[in-house]
């Protein structure tokens, strides 16, 4: 039994429900783009569902799952969560926010997609709901920080357990990222949606959005890395490759995750090319810890294979537990992430970006990264976590094993075709890709059909995950539960808190980097003669 178990499970189940709703919307979208004849098909429903899918998957599923993972990591590694009362307040605030935003979206009054770029204007409840979701997550951040500090005050010189290190880093990234979001939503969009202000400047809003929007991806990714580094090596009988290196990787994410937002705005007017170039360099810097992760997590797999007796150059791959749904999920997530990572390097490439900007390439890209590297890791982790936390063993093992493989196949069909149609020029977020019978649009058609098949396979995989979870918790509980053990490093840790555990110091350095990256360009934008824009609701 760990501290905060109920908090883990409450947040986990909200994530599961959000995922299920979003999966239903997704399959409909993939079919619409292939121009399949559906019983319910209209532009209104399509764009509502794109908004709902984006918000529920990218913001709700991830945030609640990560909050669950945070309570799990601290509860299991530090044996404490201070205080669970605030944990429940966080849960309720986030849940109320989620429900308000979801209702606003489903009512059709807030079809602004999950990027909610003004001057598209949603119903005020949408912004209020999103704000509450974030405020709830801030309370979670406070619980995490407080728990860490209480533990720290009693263990002055000890190195913080690695899983906790990763979660504290996640919290820091989230706070730095949401600072930009708060400026946009509280400073600009909320007063505007309530009618207190007439106009907003879309480029200023986008700049604050992407201050948040890129570190958001590391808020998703670092918790997945926590699973990759601190749980999977032990679960498959291996060792963590290097404790020190992992701490360095996490800290590099704190430093470089935020000052990179302009690579989402390469084609925006109003921002000079010099600042875009600076953000390009910092974006490439953030590739470094991911490259190191690819190397060191695979090294920990190799160690596992060799401990099982493999001796040749590659036979350690064959002896890995490919029939364990948790391992299969993580391994396939990593393969996918490698492909997605190289695509990301192209998105971030200063001038190459223009070939793929806002095409279906982008939707292919983030379905490989957040949609698979992160989501599949989380799904796989749930098979490992559920019996350990609740005592319910995973039932329907065959379906649980089929789930990560079908996800992988579906995602390859969907994402690879999206990448190709993107290069061929197909724009993203279109209800139909026919463009009035245009010749070039006709050349995308067969690929959008493959993409739709991928969408259906993904939907089957989503259903498998939900069925396995539900059937498992309807079964019998076992009194003896498998132990929760974190990965041991190849070389034992020396035991003292080192430079890489000094979160305050690194947060301060990160804040300085953000200031360097944003202070001048934002001041420059604000100094331009600006006219801003009135609100529009073309939906």
């Amino acid at each position: 039994m760990i501290e905060g178990r109920r908090l883990v499970m409450a947040n986990f189940w909200v994530a599961v429900v959000a995922f299920g709703l979003a999966a239903i919307m997704a399959v409909m979208q993939a079919l619409a783009r292939a121009d399949a004849e559906l019983a319910i098909r209209s532009t209104k429903i399509y764009y509502v569902s794109v908004t709902a899918h984006g918000v529920l998957m990218a913001l709700v599923f991830t945030t609640f799952f990560i909050m669950a993972l945070g309570y799990f990591s601290l509860g299991a590694a530090l044996k404490r969560v201070d205080t669970t009362t605030w944990g429940w307040i966080s849960f309720l605030v986030s849940l109320v926010g989620t429900i308000l935003a979801t209702l606003a979206i489903l009512s059709g009054s807030s079809t602004v997609l999950y990027t909610f770029y003004p001057p598209l204007k949603a119903h005020p409840l949408f912004y209020v709901g999103a704000t509450l979701l974030v405020v709830g997550s801030w309370i979670w951040c406070w619980v995490m920080i407080r728990t860490y500090l209480v533990w720290r005050s009693k263990n002055r010189d000890e190195a913080v357990p690695l899983a906790v290190h990763g979660m504290v880093v996640t919290v820091v990234i989230w706070i730095l990222a949401t600072a930009g979001l708060a400026v946009e939503v509280v400073g600009m969009l909320l007063p505007w949606s309530f009618g207190l202000v007439d106009k907003v400047d879309p480029i200023v809003a986008r700049t604050f959005f992407w201050w948040f929007g890129h570190p958001l991806t590391y808020f998703w990714l670092v918790p997945a890395y926590v699973v990759w580094y601190t749980i999977i090596p032990e679960a498959i009988g291996g060792r963590l490759f290097s404790d020190r290196l992992t701490r360095v990787v996490f800290i590099l994410f704190v430093l470089f995750s935020t000052p990179v937002g302009f690579h989402h705005q390469f084609s925006d007017p109003g921002i000079t090319s010099g600042w875009k170039l600076l953000h390009t360099v910092t974006t490439y810097a953030i590739l470094f810890p991911s490259f190191v992760t690819a190397f060191s997590v695979i090294a920990s797999f190799e160690v596992a294979g060799r401990l099982k007796g493999a001796t040749g150059l590659f036979d350690w791959i064959a002896v890995l537990p490919w029939k364990d749904p948790f391992f299969a999920s993580v391994a396939l997530a990593m393969v996918t992430f490698a492909i997605g990572g190289f695509g990301g390097a192209i998105n971030a490439a200063y001038a190459m970006n223009t070939m793929v900007k806002n095409t279906s390439w982008i939707q292919g890209h983030f379905h490989l990264t957040v949609g698979t590297a992160v989501a599949l890791t989380f799904m796989g982790f749930s098979y490992w976590m559920l019996p350990r936390l609740t005592g319910y063993p995973v039932r329907l093992r065959a379906l649980a094993l089929a789930q990560p493989y079908t996800w992988f196949v579906g995602m390859m069909l969907f994402s690879i075709t999206s990448h190709i149609t993107g290069i061929m020029g197909m724009p993203r977020r279109v209800y139909s890709a026919a463009f009035g019978g245009s010749e070039v649009a006709a050349s995308w058609a067969s690929l959008t059909v493959v993409s739709a098949i991928g969408g259906v396979v993904l939907f089957v995989s989503s259903a498998l995950w939900l069925v396995v979870l539900i059937v498992s918790v309807l079964g019998e509980k076992r009194p003896e539960r498998p132990a929760i053990e974190f990965a041991r490093p190849l070389v034992p840790v020396s035991g003292s808190a080192g430079l890489w555990d000094r979160f305050g110091l690194w947060t301060a350095v990160a804040a300085v980097l953000i200031l360097i990256a944003y202070a001048y360009p934002i001041a420059h934008l604000l100094a331009l003669p600006r006219f801003a824009s009135s609100a529009f609701q073309p939906f």
Binding site: L120, G270, A351, P427, F531
Partner: protein, 147 residues
Amino acid sequence: MWTATFLLVAFVLAIVVSATVSAVHPPSHIETIDPAVVRTESEFSRPGVIEDEHGITVVVLAELYRFAPETIRVPAGRPIRFRVTSPDVLHGFQIVGTNANVVVAPGYVSEVVTTFPEPGEYLIVCNEYCGLSHHLMQAKLVVESTP
């Protein structure tokens, strides 16, 4: 770690060198305009192709849910400057199959300069979600051979 470092340095150098030496930049034009008057009191009230001593400029208005002009004719082999703005929401201006792809925002003028070596027809699409008929917003670019 050394491999990772080497790869990154190579990537960044390739980008920085091409940006500084060959001046390859993404479109980063800085010019603001009042979106309330673009339809009536600016060059965007008369969208179209203009040829003067600066070369060929195409003035495009991107609005819900059309581009004006709907058909653009330009000569092949000469640099073309596109100037685009929006009186309403964000739009995208993407000439499919080329490197002309820019975000269009109300209040700002976006510029992109490109050359089409061969004559032919190109599809222009909006690639930034702008409302219920986003997927219908399109125009045609005809690149004509120069005598």
